[in-house]
Point group: C2
Chain length 257, copies 2
């Protein structure tokens, strides 16, 4: 039987524990190719690199049976680079991104490098899934996610995904009790309220560290935030058309341009 | 009469011709505050800066009557920084971003720093408009856009914008004939097909420049691409919920997690 071809990427960098876990899981049933950033690229959103050149270097990090490259680019760059210069025209059956060290629920999907790689793949018509664990630790415990990740990837390879979609999968941090299952959710309408921590450098100039609190006033029980808070795995199907279609008719009737 | 308070930002950097034009236009009827990147930030998508500190320095670039700051951050960072450390709690009546040197139609909205600033504002509940000209030249001619920009900003200040929305306004490059008017559009479903130009550096290592062709197979006459190709100003109302809501029921009925 021909194994499915799975491209693995992430935004925490090719040596992160999350991608190491994901590669190991995919290798149990797929041919795995890795193209991932050579350094952490968290919160890069859907950035791409056009004003400077990109590096792409082969690495033996994942053993002789995994074709692996590290790149100086963003997660979206990695997906773009993989097409021409790694896969040389072979189309992956799926792109999986992560496992991110940290939550990508709610509005974080916009800032997420993990999900930008998945959405970039969706644009190319390749089914894609971003996996994130709501635990920012470099040594986060991914063990409770493993069986779900394999199940979700295998199931989506089987039932297929509508063209142009990517799944945003988030896992609650490891608790004493097992995960309660999977919920198909919508993105909670919540936001970050930033605070900037102003400091003064040794030369007397001020600089700012971004910090913030996540504020969720969305009380829906169909959201990713609700699922995570209740120890479910959250799956949000995502698309890339930002058009507020309902507003087109409103503007056509109310605004006079 | 109290003037509206308008925050101006962009992604080409605070000295670009596009933002200089936008500041001049806004000053004719508004109190203007500028917080913009200190260097070009094109294609930064919705990147934010969390792993390094940010600079924010006052500048007199736009004269004594315009409070202006340049920042080392991304366009989204600039919007976030403006809240606490520039406006100190005053909420702008509108955020305008641009005028971008280059198109932000169709899928480019995802990669666009210009639109990430507008969408970041929308998240904060501040009406926002990103302006882009389909001309990448540093010395692009914005003259045909000016009356439309003033008209669109004034009209949206008057009729209001639904919370959480931002407008993506694109202008065709200057032609011999005048613009034909404004079309309210949807985002064309099109994409970039990248080619990477591989070169070898003086040390024998290869590097890659991203290039690409824009491929539009969306034949709709209600798209931003159609409007631009037909010399209309395109306005796409944008929102930030990426959920593919129709897919929730499909996954709930077809996939077995």
């Amino acid at each position: 039987m021909k194994l499915p071809l799975i491209l693995v990427t992430n935004d925490d960098g090719i040596t992160a524990k999350g991608i190491t876990t994901l590669v190991r899981l995919m290798k149990t049933f797929a041919e795995v190719v890795v193209v991932a950033p050579d350094s952490p690229q968290s919160a890069m959103g859907h950035a791409i690199t056009i004003a400077k050149p990109l590096r792409l270097d082969k690495t033996n990090l994942y053993g002789d049976d995994v074709l692996a490259y590290q790149s100086s680019g963003t997660p979206a760059d990695c997906v773009k680079l993989s097409k021409d210069h790694v896969l040389r025209g072979r189309k992956p059956d799926m792109v999986v991104s992560g496992i991110n060290h940290g939550s990508n629920t709610s509005i974080s999907v916009l800032y997420s490098g993990t999900m930008s790689a998945a959405i970039e793949s969706a644009l190319e018509g390749i089914p894609a899934i971003g996996f994130s664990l709501c635990d920012w630790g470099a040594d986060a415990d991914f063990s409770h996610c493993e069986e779900y990740i394999i199940k979700i990837v295998k199931e989506m390879l089987k039932v297929g995904m509508q063209k142009g979609l990517a799944l945003n999968v988030n896992f609650p941090p490891k608790m004493n009790e097992p995960l309660r299952g999977v919920k198909i959710c919508r993105q909670a309408i919540a936001k970050w309220e930033e605070k900037f921590d102003e400091r003064v450098d040794p030369h007397g100039r001020s600089y700012f560290w971004m910090t913030g609190n996540f504020v969720n006033n969305d009380k829906g029980e169909d959201t990713d935030e609700w699922a995570i808070a209740n120890n479910f795995v959250s799956i949000v199907p995502c698309q890339y058309d930002l058009t507020a279609h309902f507003e087109i008719a409103i503007l056509n009737s109310s605004a006079n341009f």
